[in-house]
């Protein structure tokens, strides 16, 4: 099977991934859909708000730990 895609051409262990443009179409329920036209995102906070929130979640143990964190 063709494992290549025009979106992701990095291979495992080959450096760092970089943002790639999202484009193309896909057929969903018989309709041709442009990738990136469907799910509507909310407005995010700033990167520092996200990082600050994650730090707070870690310090306060807000999110439950994975059931199997011994892996």
């Amino acid at each position: 099977m063709d494992k290549n895609t025009n979106q992701q051409d990095q291979k495992p262990g080959q450096g760092q991934a970089q943002p790639q443009p999202s484009q193309g179409t896909i057929i969903i329920a018989g309709e041709q859909i442009d990738i990136n036209s469907q799910a509507v995102p909310s407005s995010p906070g700033t990167p520092s708000e996200v990082i600050g929130g994650l730090k707070e979640a870690s310090e306060k143990g807000i999110f439950p730990q994975p059931p199997n964190s011994d892996e």
């Binding site: 992701q8 943002p19 799910a39 906070g45 979640a57």
Partner: protein, 174 residues
């Protein structure tokens, strides 16, 4: 050519398990460094609404409020009917590929379908939830940490949907 400074933005959707690992004080400092690295590379950190459901299950009122506040900072992808149809179709593709259906949760199919419809990457600690050939690794990050005097390793993967394979298989569905 416009102004020549068009930037590429791509989202990274967090698998819920990544946020679960946040609560582990041995792992969080390294996770945090990795998040900063991803942001530096201009990625945008995102979640699916299904992650809100997964994280708030069994929460106390206090934790629920705190979690909602923190999750509000993430770009959040809504669940709509198109997305649910795509998630169901993805499930069919897994079955056709003989990937055991019980192996992958409905939540992970919704996250996978969200990545497909938005051209996003997924950050996960469990590649089995987003199987080949539909998802492929763009980057791997190994976190080594100490837990009760034992050295452990957590492998994080950035996975991207293989749109070529997915489109082909979608069209070949029975």
């Amino acid at each position: 050519m416009s102004n020549g400074t068009k930037k590429t933005f791509q989202d990274i959707i967090f698998d819920t398990c990544i946020l679960n690992y946040n609560g582990n004080p041995q792992i969080f400092p390294q996770l945090n460094t990795y998040y900063l690295d991803l942001l530096k590379r201009q990625f945008i950190l995102a979640i699916s609404e299904i992650t809100i459901f997964e994280l708030l299950q069994d929460a106390t009122i206090k934790k629920e409020r705190e979690a909602i506040n923190i999750l509000s900072f993430f770009k959040t992808y809504q669940i709509n009917s198109k997305l649910l149809i795509a998630a169901a179709q993805l499930s069919t593709l897994y079955k056709e590929e003989r990937i055991p259906n019980q192996q992958i949760s409905t939540s992970d199919k919704i996250i996978g379908a969200t990545a497909i419809l938005t051209g996003s990457l997924i950050l996960t600690a469990d590649v089995n939830d987003f199987p080949r050939p539909f998802f492929q690794e763009a980057e791997e990050k190994l976190l080594v940490y100490k837990d009760k005097n034992r050295t452990k390793m957590l492998a994080l993967q950035l996975l991207g949907p293989n749109q070529t394979v997915i489109t082909e298989r979608f069209s070949q569905r029975p």
